[in-house]
Amino acid sequence: MGNKMKMEQQPASDATGESALGESRQVSRVALLGRDFRGVSFEMLCQQGDAVKAGDALMRDVRRPQIRFTAPVAGRVVKVERGARRRLLSLQIEVDTTRGSTSYTPPLTSDKASLRGFMLDSGAWTTLRTRPFGNIPDPDGEPAGIFVTAIDSDPQAPGPAPIIDIFSDEFRAGVDALAGISDAPLYVCHASGNAPEVSESAGLSCVPFAQGISSGLPGVHINALCPIGFAGGEVWHIGYQDVISLGHLMLGGRAWMERVITIGGDAVRRPRSLRVPPGAAISELLADELHDGAVRFLSGSVVRGLVASGGEAYLGSGHRQISALSETGSNASNKQQTSPGVMIPGDQLESLAPPGIYPVPMMRALQVGDVDRARDLGALELIEEDLALLSHACLSQCDYGQLLRNVLDQLEQVR
């Protein structure tokens, strides 16, 4: 595992300049996915067929109208796809770079209100997530801490260090902006030995984490530095590439129109890194990259990725990998079934569990849907990705991420 990470990162750190990021890939269609923004009721600010510039507001949250979702690229809104109960699946944009982009004026003063206003207007606010629950934070909320995730432990993920090196100015500007939006401590969590350069300031600290099987998860960092208890507090977290994008906004008024991802999985002929637009259409990206045969796409790693099919076959917000797995006979048994089978409570579950969580009691509470017990055992510290390893390892074929989400939904209602 550790070796694999090193192998993956070696060529990137040896290479110089832009090549560390891989070749740039353009696609004809990108999308914003509804599932990336949990708990949001979208209000459309655009019509199907509208031409939009990059950075134009496309949607906003009905309940918190300051939260705006902006176009990642310029083009034309071609389709708003909805699923069951009219839930937004994706808002799809046909790319047309000639339409230019909207520029936002970075705030002159770095006070809390103007920084937050700038992030909300430019759409950068929607890349922040809360823990518990994994929502977009309230515009006037106060976190107990903000976590920048500058470490990635998923297999074959792009190494954060070379990317941050190349965009060090932007990264620093983004971190500075984040330090300004709250009085809470700001933690930049990085792989040990790869500390990114950030400006010295009060409340800002770089925290190294040893490379491990889930050391790249914000849940792990939060548990170590500012754990979620029962007092009702929350922390915010954001991924390093979204910080770089925020830095672009702060320095130039325009968001970063690329993301560095890796493509991998056994159906991909040549796994490597690519630079692609945020929300890029996956089938288009991988059109010439696959082995023959039926393929299943995941947005994210093979371990924690989300199934990307139909109207959701786009790179998810904050995702840094696209995996393509060949569909053979035995793959038909997917992890969707939630009726509890037999769980063998062996001790290897313990090494796959999030820190501070006892896996077997937690898994039992989730299986029977005991909301109070799950909360006591630390469900508020977790979101789906934290339990992905347990879902893979448990013989019962339960999707503990989904079970956890059911519990979190109920907890959110009573909160």
Binding site: M1, K4, A144, G145, P155, I213, C226, P227, I228, G229, F230, A231, G233, E234, V235, G265, D266, A267, R296, S301, V302, V303, S323, L325, S326, E327, T328, G329, S330, N331, V342, M343, I344, P345, G346, D347, Q348, E350, S351, L352, G356, Y358, V360, P361, D376, L377, G378, E381, L389, H392, A393, L395
Partner: protein
Amino acid sequence: MAVRDNIQSALSGYAGNSQGRIRRLLLWSLLPVSIAALTKVGYQYLLNLPLLPGLEADNLGSRIAAGLVLDLQHPGWFDMLAVGLAHMGPVLMVALLTGGVWERLIAEKRQKPFEPGFVLIALLFTLLLPGATPLSHVVLGMSFAILVGKGIFGGEGKTFLSPALLGIAFVQVSFPGASAQHPLWEGLAGYSGSEAIALYHRGGEAALAAADIDLWSAFIGSTPGAMGTTSVLAVMLGAALLLVTRIISWRLLLAQVLGVVVAATLFNLLGAEAGASDISASWHLLLGSFAFAAVYLACDPVASASTNPGRWIQGLIIGALVVLIRVVNPRHPDAVIPVLLLASILAPLIDHAVVAVNIRQRGRRGV
């Protein structure tokens, strides 16, 4: 295949578990124990054959054995194996048959798939029995193991006691006086395991030496006792496989050994008014069925504590209680089976306490 492969390579094998794989590995790990059991049974039988006339017709196993062995004066390893098979074979067959019939009935009555786990239970149960066990006892014990130990809880993985443990406890309690002139009963007080410890109670180290029991023979397993439990060497080979493949918890196993060592050393140092407080830790580890039961019964993940601190606590309790009962209660010379029953029943309570501490900490340090 692909998803599994991808994930497996990502998780370095953690996700490769399946119930079938666990069962296969447990059976493989019982192979050295079974071979040791066959050899030991044959050795014991052939050793005593000249001393006990009329033994050839004592029970079914002996009648088969009498037909198999050609040269009783100079028996070789194969003769031992054959004689062992003659004794262990019928017991295992009856255990398998009983288990299979009940499984089949349960599967049909409850309209569930047939669970092959009874094979493992039957083998474990057989290895815990003396070589000359009456077959009626095997039927009763195995029925109890499958029905009460497994069936009424809903099958594999849903029990809270190891079924084989329940089966052997049942015959121990039901037939406390069971033993005969047959040499394969030698060294067993009823079914309760080790007369060797009882010997120690009566005469200390000297009594063991008089019965030809030394540390080496206890380690390789040529001492009298239940079929599979005497060879600590074979049990260690099996345990090594299970530890490497992470089927059993090393914490629980180590904690049990530590519990025995600590408790025995304390008794040695402090002494006690009554009982055999001067049995050394090495004798505790080697004699009786402790080693076998610690690996194959106590470490059953379904029947043990399910948190890491809980595993340490449970293991220490098992080790300490085994020593305590062996030392102060001469009527339970082996003590392992009742202690494991108690520890399995305690496991949820231990977990409850561990989790309560965790919840309190979360409330204290969290935001």
